[in-house]
Every structure is written in C-alpha cells, then in structure tokens.
C-alpha cells in the first residue's frame, strides 16, 4: 500500500451462544478491549465502521453502529454501518483502511458484531425475495453443489472433505474464544446428520453470538503506540456473474486473491499463516485453490496431507476457523484479521505459528448466479 496503515488495537468477545447478552453489549465489550489494547482514548478515534448483517432482519434494528459507538463514549464520531453478508466485517476493515490511507483520519475503529442465536433466525439465504431463494437455494446447498462437482471433476473424496473439519476442530481446541473446543474424527464428521449431500452437520459452521474489533492507524500514530503489524493489502471484490460460471475454479475468488498479492507485492508461497472463510468444509478446499496454496483440484489432497495444519507447510485456520468458532456473520471478517494480528505479534498462545511474519485473511459473502457477491482479502505483516 502506498501510505502504510497499521493495526493499533484488537479485541474480541467469546464466540458462543450467549442468550443473556445483547448485540450492543457484545459490540461494546469488543470495542473496549480494542481501545485498551491500543492504549487509545475514545476521543482519539476519527471514524467508526460498524459491521452487522442480521439485526435488521432479526430484530428490525437499523443504524446499530451509532448505538454501539455511543456506548463507548464516541457520540460525535462519524459512523458508517456496513452490511456485506459474511464479508460485512472485512468490508468495514477495508473502508477503515481507505480512510487512514487517504489521510482523512489518523485512526479508525472497526467493530463487527452479530447476535443470531435466536428462534426467529430460520434458514439463511442470500436474499428472501431472490428467484434462486424462492426455488429452494439455501446457503448449505450452494456449497454442497460445489462439493458434488469438485468430487466429480477432481476425485475429491468425502473423507478429504471431512479432514477440513477434523483439522479445524483440532485447532479450535487451542483457542479459548472458540465455541467448539473438542476433537472430532473423520468417522464422526461423516456420520453426523446430512445437511445437503455431501455436506454433513460437522462440515457446516455453527451459529454464534459474538463481536470483534480492530483499530487501524497511520504510521505516525503507530510509531507513538508501538504498533508494528502493518496492512500490506486490503481488497474488496464483487462477483463477475458470468454465465456459465465454473463452480470449482472460482474466478472471482482467484482474481480477488491475486489482486491482493499484487497490492502486497507477495505470492502465495510467502505466506506463513492463513485465515479463510471455511463456512463449509468444501469452501476451505476451494479457497486453497483460489489462493494458490495448491493447484486447482488438489485442495482435498492438500488437507489430507496435513500441509494446512498447525506445523504444516502453510497453516490455515489455526484459530479453528468458522467451523470451530462459529459464524456470527458481522463479526467473522473482523475476527479473522484480529487472529492474524495475534499471530504476527506472536501472542497466539498454544496455536502460535512459530515466527509468523506474513499472514492473509480471506472472507466471502453472498450468493448470486453461482458466484459470490462479495470477497475480501487482507494481507498483514509483522
């Protein structure tokens, strides 16, 4: 990036079913933690970007961001509310980086929060009035169809799909903030109830309530604060919606990844640690291939060989990923970047990737015409 942007502070709540806590309560906790981590007063923040995907649908609440920042004593702050499905949080991060990079503000705060473990949630789709939704397209089906095609074209096996869940659940055991912290076996993954074949329940990320926050700042402020994790790339892409769409060589995913590599001046072989959007087991396999961690079609064999486990060639989702943390939609994209920051600071505890210097966070959201609506990449360096 031309003008450097740094990560000054991070904060997260636990990701879990938290029926006793409100959306605002979760958002404020993450925000307070990020301020304390950065060593900044609320008055020093120049812009607030608040990410949430479902409050409008579930509670009829709009412009929640202003309420969240007011709870943190930032009543006069310019606040923008961001909804971009699963990339809501990482899109808010993208906007915060733009603001700092433009020199408009010295620092900006991102909060992503979601409260979704409520009875009225129902089935998630990309849009209740879209034709595909009316014809039965629910989110798991979209990824199940990619899995089916991947198996048919590349010989990917059900056991290889299950290995993604096994690996991420093993990582999740090392993350105190994760919802699931127990091991599962390939057999257990395959024997869990079928959601949309070939994907079983243990290959689908669980719901969760939670929040995560980040503060990004200019080089001069980073120097004052002693912040040393720098943002090397922050990109936001939208689908091409070409028809026919190749559902197992995901062009939007690939082009978004390589746009970020170009911006960061790196290649996939340089990465020490990756957080990617493993909403379903097949998603992680497709993202390996789009990110260039392996050749197209080789993702199943990559995970089965252990290359993406902690201790492997390129560890992916050492936080446990969405499969272990759960997926509070608006918080996920922020939490991925928070986790990278921990890794690059060397403070990730039992799941630390030794000597990690360069990391990538990848997120994807929405579904349109067999493509994604939104895709983000962040590249961070120590």
């Amino acid at each position: 990036m031309s003008t450097p942007v740094y990560v000054a502070g991070i904060g997260s709540t636990a990701f879990a079913r938290q029926p006793e806590r409100s959306l605002l309560d979760l958002a404020a906790e993450a925000g307070r933690r990020a301020l304390a981590d950065a060593g900044l007063a609320p008055s020093e923040i120049g812009l607030g970007a608040f990410a949430n995907a479902l409050a409008g649908k579930l509670f009829g609440d709009l412009t929640v961001g202003q309420n969240a920042f007011a709870a943190l004593g930032m009543a006069r702050l310019p606040v923008v509310n961001v909804e971009n499905a699963c990339t809501s949080g990482s899109t808010a991060f993208y906007l915060a980086c733009l603001a700092v990079r433009a020199g408009e503000v010295e620092c900006a705060m991102v909060i992503g929060a979601e409260k979704m473990c409520v009875p009225q949630l129902g089935l998630l789709s990309s849009g209740d009035s879209e034709l595909d939704t009316l014809l039965g397209l629910v989110t798991p089906a979209s990824f199940a169809m990619r899995a089916r095609r991947h198996m048919a074209e590349f010989g990917t096996t059900a056991a290889q799909l299950a290995q993604v869940s096994v690996k991420n659940r093993r990582h999740g055991m090392l993350n105190p903030l994760a919802q699931f912290r127990t091991e599962v076996t390939v057999e257990e993954v395959l024997a869990s109830p079928m959601i949309a074949d070939p994907l079983t329940r243990l290959q689908s990320c669980p719901m969760a309530d939670g929040a995560a926050a980040l503060i990004v700042c200019s080089a001069s402020m980073a120097k004052r604060l002693g912040a040393r994790v720098v943002v090397r790339a922050a990109t936001l892409s939208t689908g091409n919606y070409d028809n026919p769409q190749d559902m197992v060589r995901w062009r939007t995913d690939r082009e978004g990844a390589y746009q970020a590599y170009e911006q960061a001046g790196i290649g996939p072989e340089d990465l020490d640690v990756v957080e990617c959007h493993d909403a379903f087991s097949i998603a992680e396999i497709l993202h390996y291939e789009a990110l260039g961690l392996c050749a197209p079609g080789e993702g199943g064999r990559l995970v089965a060989a252990g290359a993406t486990a902690l201790g492997g060639r390129v560890p992916v989702n050492v936080s446990g990923g969405l499969l272990s943390r759960g997926h509070p939609v608006g918080a996920t994209g922020v939490e991925q970047i928070v986790e990278l920051t921990r890794q690059l600071r060397g403070t990730a505890g039992a799941r630390q990737v030794p000597g990690a210097r360069l990391g990538l966070a990848h997120c994807m959201g929405g579904d349109r015409a067999a493509d994604t609506k939104s895709m983000t990449v962040a590249v961070l360096a120590a």
């Binding site: 089935l123 798991p140 199940a144 169809m145 089916r148 949309a196 067999a370």
Partner: protein, 149 residues
C-alpha cells in the same frame, strides 16, 4: 392440458416457463439481447452487459446436470423433505441455470445426466397457497408429461 390461465394463476413467478409443443414439453423463458448477443435467465428488462433492450426468448428446454444436491434440512416454502436442487447446462443457449429438481428423482441423480424442463405443483407461495414451480427432471418419453402430478 394446454397452457391455461389457470396454470398462470398458480405459478409462483408467472412467465418463467412456457409450453413449447403439444406434447407437454416446457421451455425456460429468458431473453436474448439483439445488440450484444447476451442470453439471460430469468428475462432481463435491460441488458446488464450493454444496456440494450433484450427480446423474450426460450433459452432452454433440456440440458445436462452440471451439479446437484439433496437438501435435508428443514425445507423452506413448504417444499418436500428432502428436496433436490441443481444447475443444468441448457442445450439451446449454453446458460447454466439453477433450479429445483423433481422430488421423485432425488435418489437417482448423477452429474452429467440429461434433464428437461418441467412445471410442477411444488411447495407454497408467500401466502401459504400451493403453487407451480419450474423444475428440472430426468429426460424421459414425452407421453407421461403432466402438470401437478
């Protein structure tokens, strides 16, 4: 049974399919842009490629199954449990189109198999009324075609 006003009234989204011959074959109704040649389904009012004015056109009556899944979660819109969905590559236009698959075929699907367009009584509309939805079903002899089986 020919295309009737009664069928149209029952369609969840009217105008997505039409009968293409007397034997009961259906086609998906999309559009073709005369300016840039782009096909679309569903029909585009304005061409997203060139902002031209597309013309109504049947974009496919049959094709091959690109991929599919059988959904075993709680079904939306009163669809049967389980129900199947998939993408079909249409012979006529080359479009890859998402759709429901005839519930009778859920246990006999394979990538690459031949499918045809149909219109079946399947699920309910927003008001809870039974309605007709376009479906893909394994290609078969035309003789046993019928609406609302």
């Amino acid at each position: 049974m020919s295309a009737t006003a009664r069928d149209e009234a029952l369609e969840l989204v009217p105008g997505l399919v039409e009968r293409v011959d007397a034997s009961g074959r259906y086609g998906l109704v999309g559009s073709l842009c005369p300016d840039c040649g782009a096909s679309a389904f569903p029909r585009a009012g304005c061409c997203p490629q060139c902002q031209g004015t597309p013309q109504r056109r049947v974009v496919g009556t049959a094709g091959s199954l690109y991929t599919y899944t059988v959904v075993r979660t709680r079904a939306p819109f009163g669809l049967p449990e389980p129900y199947a969905v998939g993408y079909v590559d249409l012979d006529e236009s080359g479009l890859r189109v998402f759709g429901l698959i005839d519930p009778a075929a859920v246990d006999a699907l394979a990538v690459g198999q031949r499918m045809e367009v149909g219109l079946d009584r399947l699920g309910v509309d927003g008001g809870g009324r039974p309605c007709l939805r376009p479906v893909f079903r394994p290609e078969r002899m035309a003789a046993d075609t019928g609406v609302g089986r």
